[in-house]
Amino acid sequence: MTDTRIPVTVLTGYLGAGKTTLLNRILTEDHGKRYAVIVNEFGEIGIDNDLVVGADEDVFEMNNGCVCCTVRGDLIRVVAGLMKRQKPGAPAFDAIIVETTGLADPGPVAQTFFVDEDVKAKTTLDSVTALVDAKHVMARLDDSKEAREQVAFADRIILNKTDLATEAELVAVEQRLRKLNPLAPIIRAERADVPLDQVLGLHGFDLERILDIHPEFANSVSGPAHGEAGHVHDEHCGHDHHDHGHDHDHDPGPRGHDHGDDIKGISLSLDRPMNGVRFTAWLDKLLGEKGQDILRAKGIINVEGEDKRLVFQAVHMILEGDLQREWKPTERRWSRAVFIGRDLDEAAIRAGFEDCAA
């Protein structure tokens, strides 16, 4: 049976990062597709389109005992309304795009698409794309928890307005973004001029599409693999955020006076096969205890005695996992996983992961 659910793309990014420019491009480009756009403030979008819908970031907690299960009530309502335009046998839209405000937590947006039964039946979360502004992102990451979370949560990061920054600045930004989120590819853009296939149809939450994970992107205790990627903004490095020319004398930043971001990605890998039962139990326990702090997780696990790859992805405490395709004969058969979250105990997570070796 083909999946008739409508893919949903979430765009995050603080004010001025270029979301509106990108949305206007999506709506006006000659692509023959029909998109519905859910925005938070009317009037920002420059074009008149009856499929631009206002929403009000109505976040609430589910009463289901899951402490971090916050969802967006407005999205449930708006998606239900949009589905009424659906004709029998034909999707009403090629995609739905949700724009969030600069202060939005992407967690509840994403969770809505996993928790609400009606929304889940009609739509599927495709990906979360974060736009950041090359010139100002460093300052935003210093002073805004939401900005750090948006980057950490994303499946893809668009580094926009690269024409306003020097190559050295761009490299520094990319290194910091990669530490916050080792999973998301970073795409450089000017005036949000990324190809639309780099934003839409990414299948970021689709277990079948977890093809590869590159643990070397993350800062790991075994040392950065990409030049100085693990070196910048390290706890022990000699410079701090003030070097970027922003005045933060009254704002000690995300973690007081130490210089690492409170959020980071932890990359794990193991060449030995893993015990499937032990790994699953460990993962369940980790998400149960630390799920509030874990924004995203993804992994490909080599389970002992299993010819197929065990893949998983998680948003806070919401975990999806399945046996995927078979390992290819020529493929390096190893386990790797990335956990992105705030204030994570990297040593403990690494020890727990490696403890699952068969």
């Binding site: 609430f60 009463n63 309502r77 309304g81 009424k84 335009r85 004709k87 029998p88």
Partner: protein, 321 residues
């Protein structure tokens, strides 16, 4: 049995004085005699029979509230740039209540100049008149608010209960307010003392509730059968168990419909079937026995002799019982 194939999603089914009427996602209102009005520039999100019993009042994603009768239609109210999310009407007072965003608005079918707007802290998900048409309950996140329909300046009565309430109904005696909740349960309040009633245990979200049998029973969807809560005492269902009829663990009841004070109940199932039953009688009468797309609209005529249904694929029908 008249059947219909619509090229659009059906939002809801109704019976007005002329027969069955369907409100559609393409913005049209379709009468049983196949006349139709294309009224909204967009989808119809909610609809109710006009207080006169003649035609439908519909709310659309074009921000309009429109009264459609056969061959004529007129805009009754607008909410610029907003969706009309919910609507109700009272044949007693001829008032119409609708919500757009956080605002509940009241208009008078007999007085075009009358309008009241009441603000809430969160988005309104459902509106319902009390049986006399004097008060309105509005469900929102965190509970339900009660307003006097005609009074301009007032403080609403707030019935608080944590969680997201997605729709609301008044009991026919006006003694209870019941809300549907996001997390697969109902909540109720006895108005005289604001006592809370929790009605849970559902495997799925409850999409519809219907009082029946002189208000002695509240039928609901959301389970493998139609769930019936007793409302035959001043305590309502407090401390009592619900019963279930038509249990079938291969499917779920998506919608229920009744015609209080009659005792007949109709249920539309997720597997496309529709049955009618009398809780005091025996067995289910399947008026649509073929399985198919989920039933998404269901209505019973006021005299409980006819049922209108529609499924997700645009198939619809009207059955005589």
């Amino acid at each position: 049995m008249p059947t219909f194939t619509f090229d659009a999603q059906v939002t809801s089914a109704h019976f007005d004085s002329s027969g069955a009427v369907f409100a559609l996602g393409d913005g049209s209102v379709r009468f049983e005699d196949r006349t139709f009005d294309a009224v909204h520039d967009g989808a119809i999100l909610c609809a109710v029979v006009h207080p006169s019993g003649d035609g439908l009042v519909t709310g659309g994603d074009d921000g309009r509230v429109i009264w459609s009768r056969k061959g004529e239609a007129g805009v009754l109210a607008t909410a610029k740039g907003q969706w009309i999310d919910s609507i109700d009407a009272s044949a007693e007072t001829k008032l119409i209540a609708f919500s757009a965003g956080k605002t509940l608005s009241v208009i008078d079918a007999t007085d075009a100049g009358f309008r009241r707007d009441f603000q809430h802290e969160r988005t309104v998900s459902g509106v319902a008149f009390d049986p006399k048409g004097r008060r309105i309950a509005a469900s929102t996140y965190g509970g339900a608010w009660l307003w006097y329909a005609r009074i301009a300046e007032q403080k609403p009565t707030k019935l608080a209960w944590a969680g997201s309430h997605t729709g609301v109904a008044f009991s026919p005696d006006g003694a209870f307010v019941v809300t549907m909740m996001q997390d697969a349960q109902l909540h109720g309040w006895r108005l005289k003392d604001a006592k809370n009633m929790r009605m849970g245990g559902y495997p799925s979200k409850v999409r519809s509730v219907a009082f029946m049998a002189k208000g002695r029973l509240l039928a609901t969807s959301g389970a493998q059968g139609a769930v019936l809560w007793p409302f035959d005492s001043s305590n309502g269902p407090m401390g009592r168990e619900a019963s279930e009829i038509g249990f079938d663990d291969t499917t779920l009841v998506n919608l229920v419909a009744s015609a209080n004070p009659h005792s007949r109940l109709a249920a539309g199932l997720a597997d496309g079937r529709v049955w009618v039953a009398d809780p005091a009688g025996q067995g289910l009468n399947f008026i649509k026995a073929d399985k198919g797309a989920p039933i998404i609209a269901l209505a019973m005529s006021p005299d409980a002799t006819r049922v209108a249904w529609a499924d997700e694929d645009g198939q619809a029908g009207v059955a005589d019982l």
